[in-house]
Each structure stands twice: as C-alpha cells, then as structure tokens.
C-alpha cells in the first residue's frame, strides 16, 4: 500500500451499510412510523425485562465491608514471606535478587552470617509507598520465599509506608496451626474459576 491509499477518504465500497429503516420524508410516513413504534410493544418488552430481573432477584451487590470478593491467586497485593513447611525456618536465603530486580527500588535487606555459618536475613523491608506491585521480586525469588498475598486493604497515612520482616513473615503460631498457604504458582487459577467463566461476546 502506498501513502495515497491511506489518504483516500472515499471508501464507499469498503463500508458495510446496515439495513436500517428509511428516514421518513414526509409527515404521513413519520406518523406511520410513530404508530408502528407505538403499537409494536417495544415499551412493554422493556417493562418485562426489568420486572423479570426483579422476580429473579439475582442481586449482584457485594456488601463490601461485610462480604469480600475472593481474590484470584494471580492477584498481586501486599507481599508475604513464607516459612519452610518442614522446619518452620524462614525460606529466605538472603540472596538479594529481589532487592536487585526491584524496579522501584523499594526493597532493602541486611544479611549477616550466623554462628552456624549460614546466611540469614537480619532486616528486610519493603516501602509500600513506592512499590508498584509489579511482581518481579516474587518471580525472581529462587526459594518461593517472597510471594504476593491477597491483602488489598492497604491504605496508609503517609507516602512512605514500610512493611518490615515481622509484618510480612508468617507468624510462628499461624505456621504451627498449619495456616500458611502455599503460593499457587504464577498464573494459577482461582478455586472458583469455573463459576467465573463467561461466554465471550462472540458467542452471543
């Protein structure tokens, strides 16, 4: 194609015209159209549709503070630091990959080598005021130690809002009660995925 093809304004043959009703040219035709539209009962179709919805009572309201929507495992909200299922010790090995890959520079960690000459994380913080929840940290983590949780109610009073290690790490009592949820994996479907399937517009 050349430039002049793009500049062509007269594309009469390219348009597909809908088979619409002709515009009335005189008063009598306008009156006939008015009568047809009045008698046709389209108004009553509208009445029936709203009444049908009222009788069905298929209410879509979620009373938010009382009911909450089930978040998909793909949802990226406040991070969680997980523990090993076998020993209960922290999964994080202090490799620093998350700190390195973080594109908004909001992760900071301090490590030291303990008496068993293992590297442990002494400080770990995420500035949620800066975090853009891109998910790179969770994606790069070799140990599945940092993952995204579903805690989305995170309003803050200040721009800088630091989540510390003890805020994000699974507490020991929660862990002992076996309430630590394993990360489902990237692209995991939610438990109620089957219910949420809808026909695409093409199907109807």
């Amino acid at each position: 194609m050349e430039l002049k093809d793009f500049k062509r304004r007269d594309i009469g043959s390219a348009y597909i015209f809908l088979n619409t009703e002709a515009t009335p040219t005189d008063g009598w035709q306008a009156f006939k159209r008015f009568v047809k539209r009045t008698i046709k009962g389209e108004l009553f179709v509208g009445l029936w549709i709203v009444l049908r919805e009222m009788i069905r009572f298929d209410i879509h309201t979620l009373q938010y503070p009382l009911e909450k929507i089930e978040m998909s495992p793909r949802y990226r909200a406040i991070h969680r630091l997980l523990r090993l299922f076998e020993s209960g010790s922290e999964r994080c090995i202090g490799c620093g990959l998350c700190e390195k890959i973080c594109i908004s520079n909001c992760i900071r960690m301090d490590t030291h080598v303990d008496e068993k000459s293992r590297k442990v994380v002494s400080e770990y913080s995420i500035n949620f005021g800066r975090c853009i929840f891109c998910g790179y940290c969770a994606e790069v983590c070799p140990e599945l130690a940092i993952v995204h949780g579903a805690e989305y109610e995170n309003a803050g009073e200040q721009r800088a809002h630091f989540g510390l290690k003890e805020d994000m790490l699974t507490p020991l009592d929660t862990f002992k009660a076996k309430h630590q949820k394993e990360f489902q994996g990237f692209g995991a479907l939610s438990a109620n995925a089957d219910e949420n399937i809808k026909q695409t517009p093409l199907a109807y």
Binding site: L43, L47, V50, M54, D58, I59, H60
Partner: protein, 330 residues
Amino acid sequence: MFDTAVVIETVVKAVIVVAVIAALAGFATFIERKVLAFMQRRLGPMHVGPYGLLQLAADGIKLFTKEDIIPQNAVKPIFMIAPVIAATTAFVAMAAVPYFPEFTLFGYTIHPIISDINVALLYVMGVASVGIYGPLLAGMSSANKWSLLGAARAVVQMLSFEVVSGLSVLAPIMMIGSLSLIDINDAQTGGIGDWLIWKQPLAFVLFAIAGFMETNRAPFDTVEFEAEIVAGYATEYSGMRWGLFFIGEYANMITISVLVSILFMGGYNAFWFIPGGLMMLLKVSFWIFLFLWVRAAWPHVRPDQLMWVCWKVLMPLSVVNILITGFALL
C-alpha cells in the same frame, strides 16, 4: 351554622390525611429506592436498620438538620415560599378525594373523605394544576439557569398535559353525569365488569399518561431531569425546602393513583371476598409500583417530543374519544 361535631371531625380527618400521606410519601421514597435497586440487580439501602428500613428516619433527620441555603441573588420571599406551594397544593388536592368506603367506629359512621363536594374531580385537578406554581416560582426566583430551564419546562409541560387530562376525563364524566368522586365510585359497584376502564379504555390510557406528566415522573420527567438540567427547578434548594418539593411530588403520585383507581378501576367497591378498603389499597399500591416500574424501564422524552405527543396525538385522540362517547350516549 356548622355543627361543632362536624368541625372537629373535619379537622381530625384533615390532620390524619396530612400525617398519613406525608408519612406514606416518605415511605414511598424508600420503596422507590428498593424497587429501582431490585430492577437493576442491586440491593438498595441496606445498612440503616433491618433491610435499610430506618433509612427513612436517617434521611428525615438529615433533611431537617441541613442548612437552609438561600442563594445571594435569589428573590428571597418567592424562593422561600415556592416549596410550600408545591407541598400544600399536593395536600389540599386530597380534601375532596375519598379513600375508603364509609365505616362505623364506636357507633359513629365515618366517611373517609374530608369534604364531599359536588365538583370534586374539577377541584382536585384544578388544585393539582396550581401545584405547578411551585416549580415555576422556584425556578424563576433561584437565579440559576438550570432552575430557569426547569421552570420553563414545567410551564411547557403543564400547558401540554392539562388539555389532555381535562379532555380525557370528560368522557367518563359524560357517562356518569357527576363530578363527585363518590358518585363516580358508586357508578361502578357491579364488580370488575362495571369498571369504567372497559367502557373508556382510551380515556384511561390518556389519563394515565397525563398523570405521569402531572407528577413529573419518568418518562416525562423533563422538569428535573438530572442529565440535562441538573435538578431543574430544585437545583438551588437544600434541606427541608427541597424535602417539601419531594413530599409534594410523592403526595401527588398518591393523589393520581387514587384518582385513577376511583375513576377507571372501580374505586373502593368490594370485589369478590376482598373488602373495598383493601381493594383501594391494592390498586393504589399497584399504581405507585407502576410509577417506579416505568421509571426503571423507560427512557425519558425530550420536551419537544412531549409537546408533540400531547398536542398532535393525545389531544386529538381525546377529542375523538369524547365524540364517540357522545354519539354512543345519544
């Protein structure tokens, strides 16, 4: 001249009617929000009281305690009195409307009508038409262009529908020969077959349409259509003055529902095993529901379409209806 008992009875009746209708008008706002919500797959008010029932009280407290703002450039006395006109005319119109069949309480026969005047229908429609001064004065005194447009539309609408409602109601009156609503009711005593809706279907439809216009309800809510003129004549109002407009509108809806029920749908005559009073309640409830139902379903018309349909379609139809009725009566 007047019996003291009659005076006391009338005053008591008037107070009861105003109190009950004002309460019902408030309740109708709750019902409206609920019905509209259900039709749109929502829940409506849910948080204040069980199923949001106390929302009414919350709204009332809010309206009463809200600051009553009068704009700087508004014409103060007119601005202040306009909502009172809207509300009072709506209530005054109810003076000649019978609600229930007469009943006996403590050996005293009570006619549930404040005053059975012989031109009741004319009176009700006349006073209801005076109610248009509310929106008109409010819109003209507000010093706001939306309000002014609302007022202009109110007058345009008024001029259009009054002719239709007057002419459409003429045919049933010709058949019955009385303007008293009690006579009209008594003419339809013989069960459902006697309802005037079967003898005057066209007049019924025309009067119903005019009723929707008179109460400014969708699809003829041109006077206060939010998307076009914000809140129309009520744009500058706040607090209880705005609330008075609202109470007036809902009281008007109740009046129109009662009028249609009496004129065309057998009034408060007993039907089969259902007593007359309950019949009346059912019919009025249905009409209130219809007002809400239509609002949920239909888009509204433009003011020019409204005038077009009134003057070019509805008015000729009502004249033809009168002609046919006249020939049939001869």
